[in-house]
Subunit: 373 residues, 2 copies
């Protein structure tokens, strides 16, 4: 299988670029958003819904799938056959979830120990172990285990994170290479992750270290984890000139303003639970901003969520109907809003790529920044 | 608009018959099952899902829609435009839900008083009021208000129920006729409801009374409400020879064995929440019986729910995947199982009609009765 990333066009007014990420027979246009299918399903949807929207690359969470269904997934040949997903798949390393979900986690010499949030069972993730799990999951893009410190970490903690993240990155790549020679990780490609918190010097150092290794792509981790938005954007702008030709993935981001800032700084790939989680809280994204469908003002509205949207919810249903379903506790509302929000995100990225192709990303950026998201 | 019911074929071995129910431009083959869209949505689905399965007639609940969204539904022109449902719609009278869901209900001279299960507000349903509500809801088939006694009611209670049910039936029809002359209830047709509990004499009397009124169709109510299955079936067989040419609707039923018995006795229309409620409890119907997807034996199963089913769940997903989604608490599982169960019910009725057309309903009946549903 081929892994190939090709930069197509670079916007003259900023670092934004369009590209094509080829993963086997699947071709992904960038910049692109990846819907999150935490437990081998994007919440409320099935694979046919994602195909219909146009998505070709989704993310699944290693932490969750390792704990449940775990080894059983082998009998299905991995996550993609399990969920009948014909597109490409990226899996994270599980490290982030260990720190956000698991109990009693602590670093050991080898990796990180934790207790399952489901049944309290004890587990150890090491750089090698998470690659073995991702081999079982059968993702096209695997992520290395890293140490992602919280947004308010002090310099000591950041230095510790960098040391560990870099050591693990080297270990991961060595393990990947060695096992590849033994016939493993066929058609699976490895991305490194740079850290450094809000410290620009450490950010430069970490990006240089990760980019010095022959990963297929490079992720920027540890942003949108509690730091100020000012710090977040400062880091992005600081890193932008140093990002090399490989695909660049900004992990766990985010909001429309965050996408605008990050695309401007040359980021190619994004993932976030916000569009799907917000849907389940009754929030719809529109070309005019966000709508809270629980608001009484929508009660008799016969308008679609967004009149320029082509999703099932907008083709057939009114704000008033969706509001009614939401108030009545009907699951259908969660599904319709999820379909809409993911279609909105897909369309937003499509418009962003168009703007870059026309060399007009900055006017696009300015226009969208004015809308209150 | 036309309302027309045509009996097509009568099985020589029993009372089973096929027919066509024409409701405006919508043509419904009978016997047929109506999915229940309580709050203007079949739980977990939207109208496009029902169209894809082949359904053309669904039920919505007057009690729920009267309480929420209530009057707001007028601005949408009724339930059908509200949920963008292009098929036909039957609404119940709301009486049954008053007794199963509402608090503090009691009969008054005029009707039945109750408190909303949502906010405790006080309401009164009368035979006239529930028709006005159903006019607002815009259903094609409206049901009269009746008094449905519990399965263990004594003779005194049954006699009281009959008196009230028959009085209300006459009042309902008079009101319907009078308002129709004034230009109301355009394209809306009224079904009467016969009661009588497990008492065969009262059943005969009630059916005769209801059939003596010029309703568009006749429903058998008060079955599957707690009486023994033996009593239930005895009543069906007792009534079968007396059912006249009009469409016959057995309310709130039910299970596969119940359908078999009732189709055999000449019933044309059914509704029940079981296929959708069971789906949300992890139960799938198959040509071999019911499956509990929570059972560990399905963990590594790559089989579809039912290999003869054409629903989305069976075309693309395995029992093992659906079991995983169910265990992981994913809404997607509830939707896939709902799609499957409703497709199964649609297909079951399609097979039943085929059997009747071939004059072979009794072998069909015998074959399905052997399967443990």
């Amino acid at each position: 299988m081929a892994f190939e990333f090709q930069q197509l066009l670079r916007d003259p007014g900023c670092h934004a670029r369009t590209g094509t990420l080829q993963l086997g027979s699947v071709s992904v246009e960038t910049p692109m958003f990846m819907p999150v299918g935490t437990q081998a399903a994007v919440k409320t949807l099935d694979s046919s819904d994602l195909e219909e929207m146009g998505y070709k690359l989704i993310l699944a969470n290693t932490y969750h799938l390792y704990l449940r269904p775990g080894e059983a997934i082998r009998s299905f040949g991995g996550v993609k056959p399990f969920m009948d997903w014909k597109g490409a798949l990226l899996t994270d390393s599980g490290g982030f979830q260990v720190f956000s979900l698991a109990a009693m986690r602590r670093f050991t010499g080898d990796g990180v120990e934790f207790q399952s949030h489901i049944d309290g069972s004890r587990h150890l993730f090491t750089p090698e172990k998470v690659l073995d799990i991702q081999q079982m999951l059968g993702s096209d893009i695997m992520m290395v285990l890293d140490d992602c410190p919280p947004g308010d970490a002090d310099e000591k903690r950041l230095l510790e994170s960098l040391q560990r993240t870099h050591d693990w990155a080297r270990q991961s790549f060595q393990y990947y290479e060695r096992k590849k020679e033994e016939g493993h990780f066929d058609d699976q490609f490895l991305f490194g992750i740079a850290q450094g918190g809000a410290n620009l010097k450490l950010r430069t150092e970490s990006l240089a270290t990760i980019q010095s290794l022959p990963f297929a792509g490079v992720a920027v981790g540890g942003l949108s984890v509690g730091e100020t938005r000012e710090d977040f954007y400062r880091v992005l702008h600081h890193l932008a000139p140093d990002l090399d030709a490989r695909p660049r993935y900004l992990m766990g981001v985010g909001t429309i303003p965050d996408f605008l800032e990050a695309i401007r700084c040359g980021i190619d790939l994004f993932d976030c639970v916000l569009p799907t989680r917000n849907a389940r809280h009754g929030i719809a994204y529109t070309r005019g901003g966000k709508l809270n469908l629980r608001n009484a003002l929508h009660q008799e509205s016969r308008q679609p969520l967004d009149q320029d949207c082509t999703c099932l919810a907008c083709r057939r249903y009114s704000r008033g109907y969706i509001r009614h379903l939401l108030r009545a506790g009907e699951i259908t509302a969660l599904r319709l809003l999820t379909l809409h929000n993911l279609q909105f995100f897909f369309d937003f990225f499509s418009m962003a790529r168009d703007a870059i192709r026309k060399g007009a990303f900055m006017p696009f950026y300015e226009g969208w920044k004015k809308i209150g998201f």
